[in-house]
C-alpha cells in the first residue's frame, strides 16, 4: 500500500496511455489484417484518453461554470466525443474492408498474398 501511495494519478494515466499506444503500434506493424485492425483500435483508444487528459485531470470538478470552486475544461470532453464517433465508424469500415479483402485475395496478409508466394 505504501509503495503506491505516492504515485500520482497523472503518472498512472500517462503510463497507461503509453502502454496502450505501444501495444497498438506493435499490433499495427504485424502482417495480418486482424492484428492491424486491433492495433488501430487500440491506438484509437489511447488517443481518445490522451485528448481527454489534455484538459488536465480533475477530481470532483463539473465542466460547468458556477457549480463550484473548480471547473473541469469541457472542450476536450466535447472533442473526444467527436473523435470516438469518427473512430467507431472507421473501425466498422476497416473490419468490413479487411473481410472483403480476405475474400477477394484468399489471404489475410496485408500485401494481398502470402509472404514468399
Amino acid at each position: 500500500m505504501s509503495l503506491f501511495a505516492n504515485i500520482s494519478m497523472e503518472f498512472l494515466v500517462a503510463s497507461g496511455i503509453g502502454w496502450v499506444t505501444a501495444c497498438g503500434v506493435y499490433l499495427m506493424l504485424r502482417g495480418r489484417s486482424f492484428p492491424v485492425v486491433l492495433g488501430l483500435t487500440l491506438l484509437g483508444y489511447a488517443v481518445n484518453i490522451f485528448i481527454f487528459v489534455m484538459g488536465r485531470l480533475w477530481s470532483a470538478a463539473p465542466p460547468i461554470l458556477g457549480q463550484g470552486d473548480v471547473q473541469a475544461d469541457p472542450l476536450p470532453q466535447a472533442l473526444v466525443l467527436t473523435a470516438i464517433v469518427i473512430g467507431f465508424a472507421t473501425t466498422g469500415f476497416v473490419i468490413e474492408l479487411a473481410l472483403r479483402s480476405r475474400a477477394e485475395s484468399g489471404t489475410d496478409h496485408v500485401d494481398g498474398r502470402e509472404p514468399g508466394a
Binding site: 484509437g44 489534455m54 475544461d73 476536450p76 472507421t90
Partner: protein, 535 residues
C-alpha cells in the same frame, strides 16, 4: 412586408454564401441517397452535374468577393469566435474552392460516361468527398479541419474501391490503415496544441502561439512536427509518399483524377498551420518546420521523377508525377517568402488540373490499345492517334514546364522566388532536373504509345475511338490548364495578394475575433494576449 420573396432569398444567399460550398454537396449527397441508385442513374447524373456546376459558380463568386481583400467570416450558429466554429474565406480558401470545383466538374462529366455504373453510390460518395474538401478549405478551426479531413477520407476510402477487384482491395486496406494511423497522429497533435495554448481557433492560435515559451514551447514544437507528419502523409512527402503511387494507380481513372486535389489538402494545411500559425512571427516556435520542409520537398521531387522513369504502367507514371509536383509545390512553400508562396499557389492550381487531365487521358489511350492496355510496351495502334497524341503532347509539355505553357510560368516563378535564398542552388538544380526528367519520361511514354506499333496484331478488338463525352471532359481539363497561361497576369496578381494576405495575421485576427481579441475564461492558466484582461 416591403421585401419581395426574391429579395429575401438574395439576402439569405449573401448571408450564407460562405457555408454553401459545404452545404450544397452535403444536401445533394443526402438527396441522392434518398433517391437510391438502382434505376435512376440518368437522374443522379443530372443532379450531380447541376450541383457541381452550381458549386463552381458559388466558388467563383466567393473568389471574386475575396479579391477585394476583405475576409469573410461565417460564424456557425452565430456563436462568437473562439467559442463557436468559424468558416473564414480569404483569397487562399476561395482559390482552393474554385480549384476543387474546376477539377470536379470535368471529372464528374467523365465519370458519367460509364464509370459511375461500375459500383453503387458513386455520385453520393463523390458529393461527400467534395463536401469534405470544401469544408477543409473554408474552416477556421483546427479540430474542424480534422473533422473535414475525416469526411473526405471516409468518402475516398469507398471511392478508391469503386469498381472493386482484387488490386483495389489490396491497396484499399493499406490506404485505410495508413490514413487511420495519420488521423490518430492528427488528434495527438491537436490535443498537444490545445494543452499548451488553450484554443484551436486558427486566429486565436496565431495570437497565442507567439506567447508560449520555455517547456511549453518545446511541446508546441513537437505538436507542429507531428502535424507535419500528418499533412505529409496526405501530401505524400518523401518518406511518407510510398502509399500514393500504387493507390492512385489502382483507383479508377475519374477517382484518381479527383484524388489529384486530395494531396493539395495536405499542402494547404501545411501552408495554413506551419506557414502562418507556426510562421515567422510565432515567437519561440517560429519556423519550426523550416529545417525539414525544403530538403524533404526537394528529395520528394527527385525520388518521384525517378519512380516515374521506372514505371511500367501509365497510371503509375502519372501517380509519380503527382508526387513530383507536390515536391515542387512544397519546396516553394519551404522557402517561406511571399513571392515563393504565390508561385506555389499558381503552380499548384496548374499542376492539379494537368495531373487530373493526364489520369483521364491515359485511360482513354489505354482503352484503345487492346491487350497492351495501360502497360508501357509496344501495342496495337490507337484509333485516334492525332487527337490523343496532341493532348498527350500538351499535357506532357505543360507538366514538364515548357514555354509558353503554364507549367513553365509556375516553375519560373518558383525559381525567381528562390533567388537570394541560401538553398537557391539546390532549388534550381532540382526543379530544372525534375522538369527535364519529366520530359524524358513523357517523351518515352509518348513514343511507345503512339509510334511503337506492334506489327501483326489484329486490330479488330480495339475500340473505334473514345466517346465525345470522355474526350470533352479531358480536353476541358487540359484547356483549363492552358487557359492559366493566358490568364497568368491576373492570376499572379491574385496569388500575390493571397500570399500577402496570409502573412497579415493581424487583419485575420481582427476579422475573426474582433478588435478586442478573444475574451475567454479558462480553469487553468494559459499565456494570454496583452490586450486581454485578467479573468
Amino acid at each position: 412586408m416591403n421585401m419581395s420573396f426574391a429579395d429575401v432569398m438574395m439576402q439569405l444567399f449573401r448571408q450564407h454564401l460562405a457555408v454553401l460550398p459545404v452545404l450544397l454537396p452535403s444536401f445533394t449527397a443526402m438527396l441522392m441517397l434518398l433517391i437510391g441508385d438502382r434505376d435512376s442513374l440518368p437522374r443522379l447524373r443530372r443532379i450531380a452535374l447541376v450541383s457541381v456546376a452550381l458549386g463552381l459558380m458559388f466558388a467563383l463568386k466567393l473568389a471574386m468577393e475575396a479579391d477585394d481583400g476583405v475576409l469573410r467570416v461565417y460564424r456557425v450558429g452565430d456563436w462568437p469566435a473562439p467559442f463557436g466554429i468559424v468558416l473564414v474565406i480569404d483569397r487562399l480558401s476561395a482559390l482552393m474552392l474554385v480549384l476543387t470545383q474546376a477539377v470536379a466538374l470535368p471529372v464528374l462529366f467523365y465519370a458519367s460516361g460509364g464509370w459511375d455504373s461500375h459500383g453503387r453510390h458513386f455520385h453520393a460518395l463523390f458529393q461527400f468527398q467534395l463536401m469534405g474538401l470544401n469544408g477543409a478549405f473554408v474552416t477556421g478551426d483546427l479540430f474542424n479541419l480534422f473533422v473535414f479531413f475525416e469526411v473526405l477520407l471516409i468518402a475516398s476510402y469507398v471511392l478508391l474501391l469503386h469498381g472493386q477487384g482484387r488490386e483495389r482491395f489490396r491497396v484499399g486496406v493499406q490506404y485505410v490503415a495508413i490514413n487511420l494511423a495519420a488521423s490518430a497522429l492528427f488528434l495527438i497533435g491537436v490535443a498537444l496544441i490545445y494543452a499548451t495554448v488553450g484554443t484551436l481557433n486558427m486566429a486565436d492560435l496565431a495570437q497565442r502561439v507567439p506567447l508560449v515559451s520555455g517547456d511549453d514551447a518545446v511541446v508546441l514544437k513537437a505538436a507542429a512536427l507531428i502535424l507535419l507528419v500528418v499533412f505529409g502523409v496526405k501530401a505524400a512527402i518523401l518518406p511518407l509518399h510510398l502509399w500514393l503511387p500504387s493507390t492512385y494507380a489502382a483507383a479508377s481513372a475519374p477517382v484518381a483524377a479527383l484524388f489529384a486535389i486530395m494531396t493539395k489538402v495536405g499542402v494547404y494545411s501545411i501552408l495554413r498551420v506551419h506557414g502562418v500559425i507556426f510562421g515567422a512571427d510565432a515567437g519561440a516556435s517560429a519556423l519550426t518546420v523550416e529545417p525539414w520542409l525544403l530538403p524533404l520537398a526537394l528529395g520528394t521531387s527527385v525520388l518521384a521523377v525517378f519512380g516515374m522513369l521506372a514505371a511500367h504502367t501509365l497510371p503509375r507514371m502519372v501517380a509519380y508525377m503527382t508526387v513530383a509536383s507536390v515536391g515542387t509545390i512544397l519546396a516553394a512553400l519551404g522557402l517561406f517568402s511571399e513571392a515563393a508562396w504565390s508561385a506555389a499557389l499558381y503552380y499548384m492550381a496548374h499542376s492539379t488540373l494537368i495531373i487530373a487531365a493526364l489520369f483521364l487521358l491515359v485511360e482513354l489511350v489505354s482503352a484503345q490499345r487492346g491487350d497492351a492496355a495501360d502497360r508501357l510496351e509496344a501495342g496495337p495502334a490507337v484509333a485516334q492517334p492525332a487527337l490523343l497524341g496532341l493532348l498527350m503532347l500538351l499535357g506532357a509539355a505543360s507538366a514538364a514546364g515548357l514555354p509558353p505553357l503554364p507549367g513553365f510560368i509556375g516553375k519560373l516563378m518558383v525559381l525567381q522566388a528562390s533567388s537570394g535564398h541560401e538553398a537557391q542552388t539546390w532549388v534550381w538544380t532540382v526543379v530544372l532536373l525534375v522538369g527535364f526528367l519529366t520530359l524524358i519520361g513523357l517523351a518515352r511514354a509518348g513514343s511507345v504509345l503512339f509510334w511503337s506499333v506492334r506489327p501483326g496484331v489484329d486490330d479488330s478488338g480495339t475500340s473505334a475511338g473514345a466517346s465525345p463525352r470522355l474526350v470533352l471532359a479531358t480536353v476541358s481539363l487540359i484547356g483549363a490548364g492552358v487557359l492559366m497561361s493566358v490568364l497568368a497576369g491576373p492570376l499572379k496578381r491574385y496569388t500575390d495578394a493571397a500570399a500577402v494576405q496570409l502573412v497579415d495575421r493581424r487583419a485575420y485576427q481582427e476579422a475573426v475575433l474582433g478588435a478586442a481579441g478573444a475574451q475567454t475564461t479558462q480553469p487553468y492558466v494559459f499565456p494570454r494576449p496583452a490586450s486581454e484582461g485578467a479573468h
